[in-house]
Amino acid sequence: MFDDFFIRALFVGIGMALVTGPLGCFVVWRRLSFFGDTLAHSALLGITIAYTMEINIALSVFIVSSLVALMLLKLEKTTNLPTDALLGLLAHSSLAVGLVVIGLIATIRFDLMGLLFGDILAVNVNDIIIVWFGGALILLVLKLIYKPLFASTVNYELAEAEGMKPEKVKAIFTLLLAAIIAISIKMVGLLLITGMLILPAAIARNISSNPKGMVIYSVIAGLMSVLIGLFSSLEINTPSGPSIITAGLILFVLSLIKIKRSSQLKS
């Protein structure tokens, strides 16, 4: 069944959309889109390390992204710089260091475009297993921390006062973000991961009135982006990763119609 490259790509894309949908909602709610971007940039460094040390890419990316995330939490506490400045600093410097390392190890030839935009059509059965098992694990953990994470997203102090552990769930959520980036980097590439996290959630926000509804719509929007993007890339021979994101963008524009309608109804 997994013989055909296109079927493999579909399986990986669907697995990814199932995970980025719910995670993306929290990224949007907690205003973490730039944070996701920073983690994605740092993934390049993870990949080069994986190549030089010959270890698993997903593992290496996960470790580097987690370290960058922890570094951010630490810097937030010890410096007076605003978070967005720190994020910019970490994003660009880890990307730069990654590129410098690539330059140093001249023996390895990198497909830089592949790293930036991914190649979902080149996935193998191993990738499918990583995405589905890793994804299931991420969703399971997210389900376990959903209540305190959501409560502290709505109001940090309220959640803490009433016995939840906002700091702990924040750290766990950060690791989940690092994990989804680690397992999906090969498919959509580091420039498009934040797109997969944000677009479906943004589409869902336009058409939903409650948090659970938004999570469900976000998954549906992600699945539709993957299906439309992949099939059209096959039909009209466009790069598949960017096609998925473009499909998401088109869905987003369509979802604006609903907003326009409901605001007309109000007035």
Partner: protein, 248 residues
């Protein structure tokens, strides 16, 4: 000692020192089941800080704060909710607990906000939101209820209703209530113990003893204190008609 069973929070010389400044210091107080403690004081006198210390929201405090319960409900003074979140009153009611629909409805009913159940949180007015916040706290059936200016944005009649409600909550749930209020006169008659803050505990005791305290009168000016005593008097009469609430 039989009172130790009822003790919910014990603060001893507690204080918060941040950015080379004491937000509040040397606060000692006890919150007991079934009792209402009211914190009063001018702006910046450390009322909210004291409440947050009682809730355990500060990591580094001087002195000692002991909490003897985990069933806590909190109505914060200002709640800024990020509107990227689509959230209805119903979802908000279940924020930190899993309530039955019936519990949610009952709680919204007693704060007069039942009709808002399916409304978007964003669409509520200040007063409506305050009632929903109260309902959420009540629905949790806490041992300790911390209310930071729970009546702001509520109109005057609604305000009195809400204070009646707070009294009722403390009686039915037998919970301890830590109440912060800017509206001294309405609060007074419903309170067991008043702590007047001004960076430290300026004076404390029963409502009447605080109202008659020199330090309190200096802090708020004589006029305010006079108004206060008049209201206090009025409320005494009301209670004579109501029953013997004050007598317990």
């Amino acid at each position: 000692m039989e009172s130790s069973d009822n003790l919910l929070v014990k603060m001893e010389k507690a204080g918060v020192f941040i950015n080379n400044k004491w937000l509040v210091k040397d606060v000692s107080l006890e919150i007991e089941k079934g009792k209402i403690i009211t914190l009063i004081g001018p702006n910046g006198s450390g009322k909210t800080t004291t409440a947050k210390m009682a809730l355990g929201l500060y990591k580094n405090i001087s002195g000692k704060v002991e909490k003897f319960t985990k069933k806590i409900a909190y109505v914060p003074q200002k709640i800024s909710i990020d509107w990227t979140l689509p959230i209805r009153v119903f979802d908000f009611m279940n924020l930190t607990s899993d309530l039955q629909d019936q519990e949610i409805n009952e709680a919204l009913e007693i704060t007069g906000a039942k009709h808002l159940l399916n409304n978007d949180l964003k669409s509520l007015s200040g007063g409506e939101f305050q009632r929903v916040l109260m309902a959420r706290a009540v629905a949790k059936k806490p041992d300790l209820l911390v209310l930071d200016e729970p009546v702001q944005g509520v109109d005057f009649t609604g305000e009195i209703e809400l204070y009646e409600l707070i009294k009722k909550i403390s009686e039915t749930l037998k919970c301890g209530i830590l109440l912060i209020s800017h509206n001294l006169h309405v609060v007074m008659s419903k309170t067991d113990h008043v702590v007047c803050l001004n960076g430290h505990v300026c004076c404390s005791g029963t409502p009447i003893s605080v109202a008659n305290n020199k330090k309190y009168q200096e802090l708020f000016g004589e006029d305010v204190s006079k108004i206060l005593s008049i209201y206090e008097h009025k409320h005494d009469h009301k209670h004579g008609v109501d029953g013997s609430v004050e007598e317990n």
